[in-house]
């Protein structure tokens, strides 16, 4: 609805966007830029990532330094967010823990996404055995509750490094949903005439996948990935909360909460910060994901 009679910048943008001179991604970017909540979320997320990556480099506080004389100190000038039960600086642990939590979030989303997208495309494009196999596995995964499965996997001792192990496990169980989504997309794309044309000119399957199927399912994948990262971070925190995720002394937002429940009567600050960080990051990723979904949907007019 246009309330102003003068031509505003917004209208100009909208008019420009309708010209064919922009590529699909150019249009998406323009539409996203007008989605205020998503843009603000994007900037805050970038800021958070920069902070957890770079600030520890200049800070010179050791997150693993145990100082029992300083245990359970409330927030003060010396310890911005207080100290935990081992006298470790909570602020430093929060930053280092953020690195781990975000790393796990991005890595799991990337690997499970890659696996799921390729399997989904292949199943949808080739049909037949792969398709059947994928759908059966998908149904079984749906009926078995996820948390016990993850815990069983986390208990096996096949990789010594707990962060790497967590990434492997969660990627191995995380591809099912996106594979189903991408399979559905591929099923409709493969009926398009241009895909038929690739067969007529004798294009190889691999080329069809890379040149047509992958780019055309990209929009769905990106939205999925953005919404997924938050879920992965929560799942990591949940596993770590049960003591099965990232193993101390390496901090993560989840395992920082592991010890916190013991001290809720005296030291509530130990509960606040890691939880608030998880909440904030998940919330921002959800806002961004919803904004992206609107920007990428050609039916939506913003």
């Amino acid at each position: 609805m246009v309330k102003d009679t003068t031509i505003s910048k917004k209208d100009k943008d909208a008019a420009l966007e309708n010209q064919e001179s922009f590529s699909y991604w150019g249009k998406v970017f323009r539409r996203l830029r007008r989605h205020k909540l998503a843009m603000v979320s994007l900037f805050i997320l970038i800021a958070i990532i920069l902070i957890v990556v770079f600030v520890p480099m200049f800070m010179h506080i050791d997150p693993d330094k145990v100082d029992l004389a300083q245990a359970l100190q409330p927030p003060s000038i010396h310890h911005l967010m207080g100290t935990d039960d081992n006298g470790r600086d909570e602020f430093a642990r929060l930053l280092y823990g953020g690195r781990i939590s975000l790393l796990v979030g991005f890595a799991v989303t990337f690997f499970s996404g890659l696996l799921g997208i390729l399997m989904g495309i292949w199943a949808g494009y080739k049909r037949g055995f792969w398709d059947n196999f994928l759908m059966r596995v998908d149904e079984m995964m749906m009926t078995i509750p996820e948390l016990p499965l993850l815990i069983v996997a986390a208990k096996m001792r096949f990789i010594p490094n707990s962060v790497v192990k967590l990434i492997v496990i969660m990627s191995a169980f995380g591809w099912v949903g996106i594979a189903r989504l991408i399979r559905g997309e591929t099923l409709s794309i493969r009926e398009e005439e241009y895909v038929e044309a690739t067969k007529a000119i004798g294009m190889r399957d691999r080329t069809v996948v890379w040149k047509h199927l992958l780019p055309n399912t990209m929009a769905v994948s990106i939205v999925w990935a953005t919404l997924r990262i938050g879920r992965v971070i929560i799942a990591e925190a949940t596993l770590s909360f049960f003591g099965l995720g990232v193993q101390p002394p390496t901090p993560s937002w989840g395992n920082m909460l592991l010890g916190a429940q013991t001290y809720i009567w005296t030291s509530q600050w130990l509960v606040w910060w890691p939880g608030l960080s998880i909440l904030l990051v998940t919330l921002l990723f959800n806002f961004l994901g919803d904004g992206l979904r609107d920007a990428m949907d050609p039916k939506m007019f913003m």
Partner: protein
């Protein structure tokens, strides 16, 4: 229709067998539940061997699977390796606790969620809509266990109103019924709030998008054009039709009634199904863990069938082929 239901029911059998196979071999990968006993100097190797024999752990894994599977069919879920109790008895103790929480939260979140979703779709972009959309974002982004801890800090630590965990005040088991119910309620308020917030958010989001989609349909415009009262349009045309996807979700979430939120039960130390299952997995207590998972998955399979059949009843466009 009858053929469709029959065929749908028959598919359960191979799927059920598949789940038992996955569950069994996954747990057999975990290793020997008696491994810890071997390091205990007070237990002789002969005793361990006797224990292994008693539980059947001296036989190869494939044989164990068949033995377990057939006793499962006879309704025998085996014994817990930790306490020696029958698995069914442990489930029988945990299930009523989980059910008492879940039936309550499920009903509340169903009605409140659908009501909020419907209202916010009808008044799209109003204050009501923005307010509850905001809350549902929080409900989805909030880690359950952290929300539980925060409530605990507020109500137990700061206000001293509610007990921080557990299920019953000691000595209350002989009190009159009403007092017992009130006592139980005191312990369950916080877990119920935590679980409800998340599921109200999900119901509201689903309902909102479903109703919004219906509002754009041509027949809704027709109904308005022929002069129907807005109330009737919303009630008879929009609301009824937007229920279809919600009914599927309803049956998909039914098994959750038995499952129990492991995380919430852990935080509030409630001895329910979720906690039973998680503790069993942690302690390598195969029989309990497998029994719990099998029961849950079987009920989920059944509900999927019911959802499919109900869907075919409700939506006449679906052909049962």
């Amino acid at each position: 229709m009858r053929n469709y239901i029959l065929r749908r029911l028959l598919i359960i059998i191979p799927e059920f067998i598949g789940i038992t196979i996955i569950a069994f071999f996954l747990f057999s990968l975990l290793g020997d539940p008696f491994a810890e006993l071997q390091t205990n100097p007070f237990i002789s190797p002969a005793d361990i061997a006797a224990l292994k024999h008693m539980y059947g752990f001296d036989k190869p894994v494939v044989l164990r699977y068949f033995y377990w599977f057939f006793s499962l069919l006879r309704g025998n879920f085996g014994l817990s390796a930790v306490t020696g109790e029958p698995v069914l008895k442990m489930i029988g103790r945990a299930l009523p606790i989980t059910l008492s929480i879940n039936i309550f939260t499920f009903t509340i979140s169903l009605f409140v969620g659908i009501w909020i979703g419907f209202k916010s779709a009808v008044k799209q972009y109003s204050f009501f809509d923005h307010f509850f959309t905001g809350i549902s974002y929080f409900g989805i982004a909030m880690p359950h266990f952290w929300f539980g801890l925060m409530l605990m800090i507020l109500f137990s630590v700061k206000l001293h109103l509610l007990p921080p965990g557990g299920i019953m005040t000691p000595g209350m088991d002989t009190a009159p019924l009403l007092a017992r119910i009130l006592d139980r309620a005191k312990y369950l308020i916080m877990p119920i709030i935590v679980i409800s917030l998340g599921s109200i958010a999900v119901w509201a989001r689903y309902t909102r998008s479903s109703v919004l989609e219906m509002l754009r349909k041509d027949y809704v415009r027709t109904a308005r054009a022929k002069g129907l009262k807005e109330k009737d349009v919303l009630k008879k045309h929009v609301f009824r039709n937007s229920l279809n996807p919600i009914i599927t979700l309803f049956f998909l979430s039914l098994p959750g009634l038995l499952g129990g939120s492991a995380v919430v039960e852990q935080v509030f130390s409630i001895p329910g199904m979720g906690r039973l299952l998680i503790q069993a997995v942690m302690n390598n207590d195969y029989m309990v863990a497998m029994g719990g998972i099998i029961m849950y998955s079987f009920i989920l399979l059944l509900s999927l069938v019911i959802a499919d059949v109900m869907y075919a009843y409700i939506d006449p466009r679906i052909k049962y082929s």
